[in-house]
Symmetry: C2
Amino acid sequence: MINWTNFDELKSYSELQNVKKVELKEVMAGENGAERVKKYSVPMAAGFSFNYAAKAVDDDVLAALKNLAEEAQLAEKYAALYNGEVINTGEKRLVLHQLTRGQLGDTVTADGVDKRKFYVGEQNKIAAFANDVHAGKIVNEAGEKFTTVCQIGIGGSDLGPRAMYLALENWAKANDTFFMDAHFISNVDPDDATSVLNSIDVAHTIFILVSKSGTTLETLTNEAFVKDALTKAGLDASKHMIAVTSETSPLASSSDYLAAFFMDDYIGGRFSSTSTCGGAVLSLAFGPKVFADFLDGAAAEDVLAKNADPLQNPDMLDALIGVYERNFLGYGATAVLPYSQALNRFPAHLQQLDMESNGKSVNRFGEPINYVTGPVIFGEPGTNGQHSFYQLLHQGTDILPLQFVGFKKNQIGNDVVIQGSTSQSKLKANVAAQIVAFALGKDDADANKSFKGNRPSSIIIGDQVTPAALGALLAHFENKIMFQGFVWNVNSFDQEGVQLGKTLAKKVLAKDTDGALTEYAKLLEI
Amino acid sequence: MINWTNFDELKSYSELQNVKKVELKEVMAGENGAERVKKYSVPMAAGFSFNYAAKAVDDDVLAALKNLAEEAQLAEKYAALYNGEVINTGEKRLVLHQLTRGQLGDTVTADGVDKRKFYVGEQNKIAAFANDVHAGKIVNEAGEKFTTVCQIGIGGSDLGPRAMYLALENWAKANDTFFMDAHFISNVDPDDATSVLNSIDVAHTIFILVSKSGTTLETLTNEAFVKDALTKAGLDASKHMIAVTSETSPLASSSDYLAAFFMDDYIGGRFSSTSTCGGAVLSLAFGPKVFADFLDGAAAEDVLAKNADPLQNPDMLDALIGVYERNFLGYGATAVLPYSQALNRFPAHLQQLDMESNGKSVNRFGEPINYVTGPVIFGEPGTNGQHSFYQLLHQGTDILPLQFVGFKKNQIGNDVVIQGSTSQSKLKANVAAQIVAFALGKDDADANKSFKGNRPSSIIIGDQVTPAALGALLAHFENKIMFQGFVWNVNSFDQEGVQLGKTLAKKVLAKDTDGALTEYAKLLEI
């Protein structure tokens, strides 16, 4: 029996309020600090480990968090989710993104079909289609091979697939796997589509239109730009476009597209990187094997997330520590800092994943809650960020928890030795140094050169950004956010907050406004 | 006589604590809201206006902010800065970035020269050099024209110039001005340099090495990658590289470079987009006229910033409202949301500009302060952000002030009409709608579909992202941040917070570590 109880009504809530706060600067000093680094680590999939030594926790805090995990029934709720209960209460939907990469529990039947079979079936269709494109069996109107792929989508149909593509682009080039250049069009700003279309060889590009409903305004307008460009080039657009959509959407059976691949209402946009939404572009760009490896990495992490003991479950533990920092230490924003240029846009994807999932003020029954939920998420790759906003992280007046990600090896392998070390060594030395600098700080007679320390961080350490590693990393954050939503008792899978702006924008375009909105429309000369 | 007094010691501090809070949702409703949009607007340079109707201010709050401006002597402090006083107290330096684009007051003499003449002289040198490159008078080793430019730099030598380049790329292409493709290498991750070098025609690329000190580790390592690539292509690196540095740096007179252009210690890295740091790459990419127009736009905004009355000074007013939100309304993060794909990386530049400048915990004399300073800054272009993190902005538990930027026209001009409106109209309708949605919210019987409103925002409205407009926009934010630093009585022009991490990273590379740092180094296999 699962109880969906507000966080502040749990016994562990007051336990966590009362547990003694950890002075990070003290516990991370000297040999004790070294012991913590060895001890406070939990293995993840694909060779990663999650190290939380530099978080403001100790065995007492961890015991309280373990009680919370049990009392909030995190493992049971996860099982309910992957076994097909209606977890997205607002929209009355199942939540099945984990099923796109593995069968975690019971067979889930919905809409009269076994959903795991449905997702695998679509993946197989995409794999066959991509193989045919690569082999020159599916060609452009002139009978020539496609050389480029371009995805048209926004939000979850853009940020995740784009971040994943960028993360694997150099890996694919360095590993002599199949590689086709990918581009993305997302913004309703007409310059976005025009600029991308001007930069590619339209005649040899296969376009993927991604919209679950088939009605996303930005995506339909950008489709029009693409059709215009194809028509101007004397080409039949329907021979150059495929659709990724739901079976019930107007796009599903349209003769405007070479083929259609399906997702469904049980995969939220921001959780759709492992569905056909990410699958089409990643399989076309890198070949189906790379996408399959990516899914395997995610599936392995999903399995680890089943463990009811947070000390053996990196996704649950990361979630719990984040809740502790947000609700009991009072921190309002979290920076995600991958020390890998390949993960350049990974923080932008996590920004959507986290803020859109848990930026909520009502519980899953639509009742107001009395505690804070999802934090602000932002980040840039290191070492770039060090030369940008780290000043505030080190010496600003607010403390921000940090989430580092580091890798032993880079992707391409090319390197130089300067001042006795490679660039990859310098990159790694910097991330290690930052963790300790944030935790311990440094006293200086000149207060301007003093560092107070006590800035908590964790690090996820991996071998290399490979397809499987990327899948595991993505699943880690998806699962972390899911567990946090369970603790906060919110529905992490709807996004009612995006509706009002859409409605008002339509009113502006229909000239059906009054008051301030009329004046803003005048100022912008709409 | 200027008094550098801590903010909380000013009379206006308690005045602002006591001034009646404005209920935004009430004042922005109906005709009163419409009147506010008309009234609460102040002109900026280059045709922009700063509209603050949807900020939680009224005439009483504004009067208190005006008192603050006077008591904190904001106009006098700005004058002291541009007249050459030692405003960067920690490093004992003048702060002269405004002088790179205009003479605002007295002649400033330092290091025995008239600094305005020095900056103009360097700009003229760059203009002549760029013209010679474009005319084919300066050519590569094989006697062929350069077709590409690539900047090597990090932090202020990367984020600002890169954001400005991206902002003007499509404008330049659409306006038949001179155009040369630009690329940027920044991260010490070896994959960054390798990947850029693999994507360009090295033999026809002119590289710009940007490091004020000539000792930035990331930049020197990336120079080695570039030299390697040139050598491997059988080319003499010194015929393909120029340096932007200080006159005293080891790079200044090196025969390793085709030419050297100078900046000095009075231009902070993050404020260097209008110096040779931005000038070299922008003049080479777009021609000197575009860079000159960019400077003119910035100069015009700097002049407006001299007005001692904040109600007629958009930069000062924006600063004061931001301080009010941070210190009296308790908001911890600000989102910058440009509705223009061209300003894709502008928020990343502002993130450095703001967080590195005002993320401080001591005053300009190195004494601890008892109030919060710079907020977290993040953002993505609209409408993309709407499909990402806006959920939290609308319905999350924390309120975040928002800074919108919108334009009447796009850059390229190509557009399509779908459902009765162009994409540009849709883009504008969305930003107008968002402001009102955030301010007014919407009641709904279903709490999950309710919007509390009272989310404050401002909008900067312009005609188009042109070189002059971009300069004005950049200067607006630089000046805003400067004025906020004056109010908080911090030194906005140093960055001691970046030092500790650098020191510890060197220790890691020298194997001179103990405790936790040794263990992290082991985990990362350094």
